[in-house]
């Protein structure tokens, strides 16, 4: 066991699960999606991206790319939330909510790919 791998795996999997937690629920119902979880997911994702910087292998480059995609999509979703939320209302209306959750679903896919690559790389090294 290796502390580095534990931390690395922890953040990658946390980013994946948090994105999932945000996405799950009815796609157009803002009560099923918490803006707090979205914000935390963005922070964890960015931390993961930071951990991936500086890896000089091909696999490392792919991991970083997947992470950047997830960041981009989640931040877009968050910015959209700010724009779409009407003054005084509880949350965005259903049409805007669909866009926000769809963007986050894209980020979820990128995070799944990240995790698959991580697991594949770990299994390949067989140590």
């Amino acid at each position: 066991m290796n502390l580095e791998r534990v931390i690395f795996g922890f953040f990658i999997l946390l980013a994946l699960t948090l994105t999932f937690v945000f996405v799950v629920g009815e796609i157009d119902n803002h009560q099923h999606h918490s803006v707090w979880i979205l914000t935390i997911a963005i922070l964890v994702n960015m931390t993961t991206t930071g951990l991936k910087l500086g890896d000089r292998t091909q696999v490392g480059a792919l991991l970083l790319a997947a992470s950047l995609v997830a960041d981009l999509l989640l931040i877009s979703a968050r910015v959209f939330w700010i724009i779409a939320e009407p003054e005084g209302a509880a949350g965005p209306n259903p049409e805007d909510m669909v866009t926000i959750v769809s963007l986050s679903a894209g980020a979820l896919l990128a995070n799944i790919i990240s995790s698959v690559i991580l697991i594949g790389d770990t299994l390949m090294s067989r140590r």
Binding site: E4, F8, L51, K52, L53, T57, R126, R127
Partner: protein
């Protein structure tokens, strides 16, 4: 340039054949259209109406081609119908004439040849991978093509024999091998075959005619001064001419044959290793032939026999010679020379009962097989080596109870293949041949232990930034890297990869069988023999800085800036010396 002349020729043949039918068609259509437009018709209400030129052409189009939609736009008058009959017959005949001429054109041998040549040249131009030109597609040529295809190498074939080129098209090669039926000594065809292309690696000339071979070699040298030429030659006069061309490898099938034959007798272990390296059928490493030492009999003293005797004499073995044409005065130092055909009586006379082995090496397969039968009767214990001349007689030789079959075309093809794919291997074989048998033993044992029964695979690694980026980076930082380091298994460095470094080339000098402690430097070329899996893993570790550091030091370095920083915070005792990041590492890493 060549393609334009080819195009011109094709265009000219087409024009010559199709000019008349074309004019006939134009004339018939013109007359028909003009007539149809001039003859008055009648519309539905009975008013006179003239067909427009376009309508007349439309009518002729569906009439002359026998489609026949009917009388459009309105029913014809009798005058119109008369003209329509005329148009129909002349039009149909004009079309038949045109179609017949086209079919005759397609059957014209000049046209098909010109077309084939054009297609061939175009296919060759499109080859983007390195390829070889094989001139002569006989036994050796087709075996060589098969070998190249097995190694996924492209080749183009030129042979003057139509049947051979047809046979080539029916082979199931793993790569595309375009063939052209032409005389390769004509420079135009060599250019078509891509001799001037930068990705053309070598021209292999394998015709049976020495003069044509020499001509092809000379033409190739003029067309592409830098190209490598491999030429089959058995005559000394031609060989000298060939060597003057520079960078020409002369392949003498008889010499190679004699060399292999003597190698089989003098150092059977090396012969076994060589056969295994070239993946000869049914050869197992370490299962060398048990060739007895003593009195040998050589049947057939032609060109091959001379080479054989030469190589045997170097080892102090002088076989008895039986040949109907041998010169009795020739002082070859052999124990006995018998000028006769090798029948049963002659064999007895030569002392076959006491001989340890016999080489049936005449240029006739039936003769060789009958020598085997006589030997079987007279001395069944004798070791038999037979020369197979014709590839088609394979089944008969398989059935014969013989210790070793050597086939001239096969040995030649394998030698050329070895030379084209991994030229250094022959150097190694020669090196082992010159040294003690112990060295061969050592290598064979090592190969047996590492590769075992798996399919062996030869490959070379150039330690440069393109092929081994991580290793080159490491070496650029003045770190030490030995062969033992890179041979460790990346899945656990206590294990070793299933491959053996055979030789190392540095600054034009070869280190044969480098030891594990051998230092690697940038620019080294290393030839390995091992399993395909080991090649994949070795290439991966040479290109992955983290794996390579792990192999060298046993510590898996942190990946990424953050973990690097964390590692330095946690282990302040080894600030930069540790193997964390290869770029941060200094000093020699001692292998554990």
């Amino acid at each position: 340039m060549a393609s334009t002349t080819e195009l011109d020729r094709v265009a000219m043949v087409v024009l010559r054949y199709l000019r008349r039918p074309f004019f006939a068609l134009v004339l018939v259509y013109a007359v028909g259209i003009i007539g149809m437009a001039l003859i008055p018709g009648r519309d539905a209400d009975g008013n006179p109406e003239y067909m427009s030129l376009f309508h007349a052409f439309y009518f002729l189009t569906y009439t002359a081609t026998t489609t026949g939609f009917g009388e459009i736009p309105s029913a014809f008058t009798n005058e119109q119908r008369l003209w329509a009959i005329f148009c129909l017959y002349t039009g149909v005949f004009a079309w038949f004439y045109a179609i017949g001429s086209t079919i005759r054109l397609l059957q014209n041998p000049h046209f098909t040849h010109a077309l084939n040549e054009r297609n061939f040249a175009r296919t060759v131009r499109r080859i983007s991978e390195p390829f070889f030109i094989i001139c002569g597609f006989g036994d050796t040529g087709s075996l060589l093509a098969r070998g190249l295809s097995d190694h996924k190498f492209n080749a183009v074939v030129i042979d003057a024999d139509t049947e051979r080129i047809k046979a080539l098209a029916l082979r199931d090669y793993t790569v595309r091998m375009p063939g052209l039926c032409a005389d390769a000594s004509v420079p135009k065809y060599l250019v078509d075959a891509g001799v001037k292309q930068p990705n053309c690696k070598a021209v292999v000339v394998l015709n049976s005619d020495e003069d044509i071979n020499l001509k092809i070699a000379v033409m190739s040298r003029y067309l592409n001064p830098g190209i490598q030429i491999v030429c089959r030659s058995t005559s000394l006069r031609h060989e000298e001419h060939l060597r003057e061309l520079g960078d020409v490898t002369v392949i003498d099938p008889f010499e190679i044959f004699g060399q292999l034959l003597s190698m089989a007798i003098v150092s059977p272990k090396l012969h076994n290793l060589n056969s295994w390296l070239v993946r000869a059928h049914g050869v197992k490493l370490g299962k060398a032939l048990q060739v007895p030492k003593g009195q040998w009999i050589l049947c057939g003293y032609g060109r091959m026999g001379h080479w054989f005797r030469k190589y045997m004499a170097e080892q102090g073995i002088y076989p008895s010679i039986i040949d109907p044409d041998v010169d009795l005065d020739e002082n070859v130092g052999s124990e006995k020379i018998i000028r006769a055909y090798a029948d049963r009586k002659t064999l007895k006379e030569s002392g076959i009962e006491d001989a340890v082995g016999i080489v049936a090496g005449t240029d006739s397969d039936s003769g060789n097989l009958s020598i085997l039968l006589s030997t079987e009767a007279l001395n069944p214990e004798a070791f038999t080596i037979v020369r197979q001349n014709d590839h088609d007689n394979q089944i008969a030789f398989d059935a014969a109870n013989v210790d070793l079959v050597l086939q001239s075309s096969l040995t030649t093809a394998r030698r050329i293949l070895k030379y084209l794919i991994s030229p250094l291997i022959q150097t190694l074989i020669d090196y082992l041949h010159e040294n003690d048998e112990e060295l061969t033993d050592e290598l064979v044992t090592r190969l047996q232990n590492t590769v075992g029964d798996e399919v062996q695979h030869l490959w070379r690694v150039n330690v440069c930034h393109r092929e081994a980026s991580a290793a080159a980076d490491l070496l650029d930082q003045n770190m030490q890297l030995t062969l033992a380091d890179i041979l460790k298994d990346p899945t656990g460095r206590s294990k070793v990869l299933a491959c053996v470094p055979l030789m190392m080339e540095r600054d034009g000098e070869c280190v044969m069988l480098p030891g594990d402690g051998e230092q690697i430097r940038v620019g080294d070329e290393i030839v390995f023999c091992g399993t395909e899996r080991s090649e994949r893993l070795l290439t991966a570790s040479l290109n992955n800085p983290y794996t390579l550091t792990y192999l060298v030091s046993g510590v898996y370095p942190p990946r990424g800036y953050f973990f690097n920083w964390l590692d330095r915070q946690l282990n302040p005792s080894r600030p930069a010396n540790g193997p964390p990041n290869v770029s941060a590492g200094t000093g020699p890493a001692t292998p554990a």
